[in-house]
Symmetry: D2
C-alpha cells in the first residue's frame, strides 16, 4: 500500500479543518504553540517509515506518556499493578474526582489522571531514580535523546491543582504509598517529555509487534501483556471520547493535550499525528480526522 | 487450526468452574434452567462449523438481542440513530438511571437497557410490525424458526419495573416517541428470543464478514457500519465489565443474562458460548473463561 | 400587631415583582392560570383572620398536599413510616432519581416526589378508600367542600412520566407494596386538590398549635409529632431551595408548583400566599418575597 | 424552669449509652481522649449558668469552630461572602468532593469542610493575622485565654489529605484566592481550638440573643444576620444528619468530631455538650441523646 501517497492526500485535505479547535491554554508552553502545526509519521513492523508535514518537530507529549508509564509499571510490578488501578472505561472527564469518591480511591484505569498517578506511585516504590529511568526506557525504544522540558514540568506543577487534589484524595484513601510531592514531581515530568511524530511512531512500534522492538529485537512486554495494553488503549485511551474514537477510527491509541495522538495496527504499523488544536473533549481535532481518514482510505481497522 | 480439539480441551477443563456463579433468578423461566448446561459453537467465514456440549439447545438470548436491535435500527434509521443514543461506554450498571438524569435522557450506548429501549422506539417509528419483522430479520441471517418465548416476555413485563422506569424517564426527557407500553412490548419480546449456540454463531457471522451473510451473500450492513457495530460491542458489550472483557478476551462480543455470549474475530469466525451461571457483573462466568482460553490457546485477538 | 396593615403594605410593594417568574406550563390547567393572581391569608391560633388580594380563590395546591399526605401517613403508620422514607434534605431536584439509585430506593424525605409516593403507598396499605379519606381529613381541619380537580389529575397522569419512573424504580427496589397504578392514582389526585389561601392557612393552623385544631379542639398529631413535621418542612419543604428559604424567611413551610406556599409560626399563626409565577427552582417567586418581607417587618422567625 | 435538676437527671440516665459510639481516631490527640468524659453547660440570656459533669474541661472543638469562622467571615465580608459559598444542605458527607465537581467548586454551605475552607480564604484576604484575630474574636465573646493546640494543628495537617484535596480542587475552580498552604494553616488551627462546655455555651450565647453579647452588650452581628446563622446551623450543622437532628432535637446547633455539640434556643439560652464517642455519621452519640432529652423534658424547641 502506498502509505506516502495516502498520507499526502489526507494531510492536504485535513488542513481545511485547521482553525476549528482550540489550543490548550492552561500553561504558557502549550498556549504559545503555533496552532497550524501538522505532522504525521508512520513506521511499519517491516521497518518502513513515512512522514509528512511537521513530523520531526518535537512537542509536549503530555498524556501520551501515560502509556510509557503503564508499560514501565507492568514491567516493574506485573499483575500486582491491577490491585491498585482498574481496566474499565471511566465514562467521565480525565480529571474527575467523582468516581474516585464512590470507588474508594481506586481509579478506573491507568489512562485517566488518577490512574496514571497511582502507576507513578508504583514506579516510585520500585525504581531508584524514576525520572532518569523513564528517559532511559523510552530511549531503549530506539528513540535518541529523550528529555524533559523542565519549564513545562514547573508550569504544570504550579497550575495543576486538580492533580494535586487527586493524589491527596487517593492518599486519604490509602492508595498512594509515597509522598504527594514525589508522585507529582515524577508525574509532571512525564507529561513534559518532548517527542516528534517520528519518535512517537517509532517508540510505540513494539505495541504493534507483539511486545518486541523491531530492529533491536528487545522484548518489552510479553505477547499477552502487549495485547492487554492495546485493549486498554482502545477502551480508555481517549477519556470520555473513547467510544467515539473506537467507532470512528477503530484503532487502539492514546492522545495528549499537546495535540498528539499515537495509534497502532497490530502486526502492521504504528502511526503518530500532531495538530495542537483540540476538540471540546480535549483530543486533537485534526488528529482524529486524519486517523479516521487513514483507516477509511486504507480499509484498515481492528474490527 | 484444529478448532474442534481446542474446544474439546477448553470445555473439559472449564467444567471445573461450574458452581462458582449464580443463575439469574428474577423470572422463573431463567431460574429453572439447569445451571450445568454448557455449550460452544463456532462458525467460520469459510463455512466450517464446530460445536461441543449443549450447542444445539435453545436458551433465552436476553441482551444479546440488543445487537439484532441495533443492526435493525441502523438499517431503518441510518446515522440519524446517533441523535438519540451515544456510543460511549457507560461505566455503570446496565440498568442505571444516574447518567440518564445527568445527560438529559440520552443513553450512553445502545447496549445498556436505556439505549436498547430508545433503539426499540426507533424501530417502532419505522416498522409496521416490529415484533414480526425482528423474527424475519434474524431468520434472514440463515437461522430457521426463530420465535419468542411468550411466557418469558410476560414474566419480564411483570417484573421489569426498572425498565418501565427507564422508558418513562426517557419519555419525560422527550427521547421516546411511541407509547411506553408499545416500546416495552417490543423490547421484552426481543429479550425472550430463544436461540442455540449454533444459531447465535451463525447469525453473528456477517459481523465477522464485513456485513455480508456468508452463504446467502446478502449484505446486511456496509463494511463501515459493520466495523462500527463491532467497535461498540468491544467498548460497550459487557456493561461495566467491558474493559475486563477487552483486557482478558480481546474480542468484540455481547452477553445476555441467560448465560449466552457471542463474539466475533473479524475476517475469521464467530463463536457462541452458553453457561447459565453468572458472575457478579451479570455475565456468564464460565462463558468468559471459555472465551479467554480460546483466544489464549489460538493466539487470536484483535489486538 | 397590625397584621392587616403589614399585609397590605407588603402586597402593594410585591406587585412590582410580577412578571419576573414563569407560570408552570407542563399541564394546561396550570399554564392557563392568570399569572398576576396574588393573595395572602393569615389565621392566628387566637382565631383572628386576615386576608388581602385573591385570598379566597382556589388554586391547585400541588405539592402542598405532601404535608397532608405525611400527616395522614403518620396517623395511620406512626413511626413505622420512617422505615420507608428518611428525614434528610435531598440537596437535589424534587424529582431526581440519582439519590434513589445510590440509596436503594429509600427516598431522602417525604416532601420530594419519591418520598410522597412512598407515603401514598403506605396510605393505600392502611386505608380502604384513600382518595375519599384524604378529602375528609382535610375537611376535618375546618375546611369545607374540599375536592379534586379531576381534569388536573388526568393531565398529571398523562404527562407525569418522571413520577411513573420514580414509583416503578422504587417498586424495583421493593419499596412500593401496592400496584404502581393505584399509587399514582392516589398521588396525582392529591396534587389536584384545589384550595384557597384562606383554606390553606386554616388547614395548617394545627401545625402552629401543637397538633390541635383551634376551634374544634381535635388533636391531629401529638405535640412531638407536630414539631417533627414542622422540622421536616423547614429542612425539606422547598426542594433544593430549602436552605435559602430557611435563610431568607426562617419559617417551616411548604410550596407547590401551582404557586402556593404555606408557612407556620409555632404558637402564633399560619400564613398562606399564592402567586403563580415560579422562580427557577420551582417555588413561587413573589410568594417567597412576600414571606421574607413578612418576617422582616414583623421581626418574627423561629430563629 | 429548674435546668439544673433536668441536666442532672438527663446526664445520669445518658451514661447508660456510653460505650455505644467510637472516639475519632485519625489523629492521636483525639484518639487518646477518655471516651467516658461527659459534660453539659447551659448559659441563659438572663445570665444564669448551669453545669454538670466535665463541663469545665477543655477539648478540641474541631468543626464547631466553623461557626466562629462563618461569623467572622460575615463580619469582614458581609453578603459578598455568599458569592463564594451557598446556604443549602449538602445531603452528603462532610468531606465529599462530588458536589463540588458538579457545582464548579462552589461549596453548598459554610459548615461542610469545603465551605469552611472558602470562608477561611475570605478571612485571609481581609485580615492581617487571621490566626491571632480568630483567638481575639472568640475571647471577645467573654471567653478568656483561648488558644490553639499546636500539636493537634500539626497532626491535622499531616493526615488531612482530603482537606488538602478539597482546597486544591477549589483552587483549580478559581474559588480560592490565597495560597493553599496559608488556607490550610488557618483552617487546621481553627479546628485545634480547645474550649470547655462552659466556654462554648458562653461564646455562642450572642446567637441566642439577637447578635449581642449578654453582659458586654457588644453587637457581633445584626439581628437579621444572627437569625441567618441560626438558620444555617439548623439546616447544615450536622452534615448528612442535619435532618435527623432537626427532627429529633429541633434546635440550631453545630457539632465537632471531638465530641462537642453546641445548640441555641433563640431568646432563651445556649447549651453545650461534650461526649467523645461518635455515631456512624460523626456526631456525638451521647451528645445528641442529651439534647434530645433536654428538648423533650423542657418542651423547648423552635418548632
Amino acid at each position: 500500500m502506498d502509505y506516502q501517497a495516502i498520507l499526502n492526500e489526507i494531510v492536504d485535505e485535513a488542513r481545511a479543518f485547521l482553525g476549528e479547535g482550540r489550543v490548550a491554554s492552561y500553561i504558557p508552553a502549550l498556549a504559545n504553540v503555533d496552532p497550524r502545526k501538522l505532522g504525521v509519521a508512520i513506521e511499519t513492523v517491516n521497518g518502513e517509515q513515512f512522514a509528512v508535514g511537521d513530523a520531526t518537530e518535537r512537542f509536549s507529549i503530555q498524556s501520551i506518556s501515560k502509556v510509557f508509564n503503564l508499560v514501565l509499571g507492568i514491567r516493574v510490578a506485573g499483575d500486582d499493578l491491577w490491585q491498585r488501578v482498574g481496566v474499565e472505561p471511566s465514562g467521565n472527564r480525565f480529571n474527575s474526582l467523582v468516581q474516585l469518591e464512590y470507588e474508594n480511591g481506586i481509579p478506573r484505569n491507568p489512562f485517566i489522571n488518577a490512574g496514571a498517578l497511582v502507576v507513578t506511585d508504583v514506579l516510585l516504590s520500585h525504581l531508584r531514580e524514576p525520572n532518569a529511568e523513564m528517559l532511559s526506557f523510552v530511549e531503549s525504544l530506539r528513540c535518541s535523546s529523550i528529555y524533559y522540558d523542565e519549564e513545562v514540568a514547573v508550569s504544570e506543577r504550579e497550575t495543576g491543582f486538580t492533580n494535586v487534589a487527586l493524589v491527596n484524595f487517593m492518599k486519604a484513601h490509602g492508595n498512594i504509598s509515597n509522598s504527594v510531592d514525589d508522585v507529582l514531581n515524577v508525574y509532571f515530568h512525564q507529561c513534559s517529555i518532548e517527542m516528534s511524530c517520528e519518535g512517537l511512531a517509532r517508540s510505540f512500534l513494539f505495541l504493534a509487534n507483539g511486545g518486541v522492538v523491531p530492529g533491536s529485537g528487545e522484548r518489552i512486554l510479553t505477547s499477552s501483556q502487549t495485547k492487554r495494553v492495546n485493549a486498554i488503549m482502545l477502551t480508555c485511551g481517549f477519556y470520555d471520547e473513547a467510544g467515539q474514537f473506537a467507532y470512528r477510527v477503530g484503532l487502539p491509541g492514546k492522545s495528549g493535550v499537546g495535540g498528539g495522538i499515537v495509534a497502532v495496527i497490530p502486526d502492521v504499523l504504528s502511526i503518530a499525528v500532531w495538530s495542537p488544536e483540540l476538540n471540546p473533549r480535549g483530543n486533537s481535532l485534526v488528529g482524529i480526522h486524519v486517523l479516521e481518514q487513514f483507516t477509511t482510505l486504507t480499509g484498515m481497522s481492528i474490527f
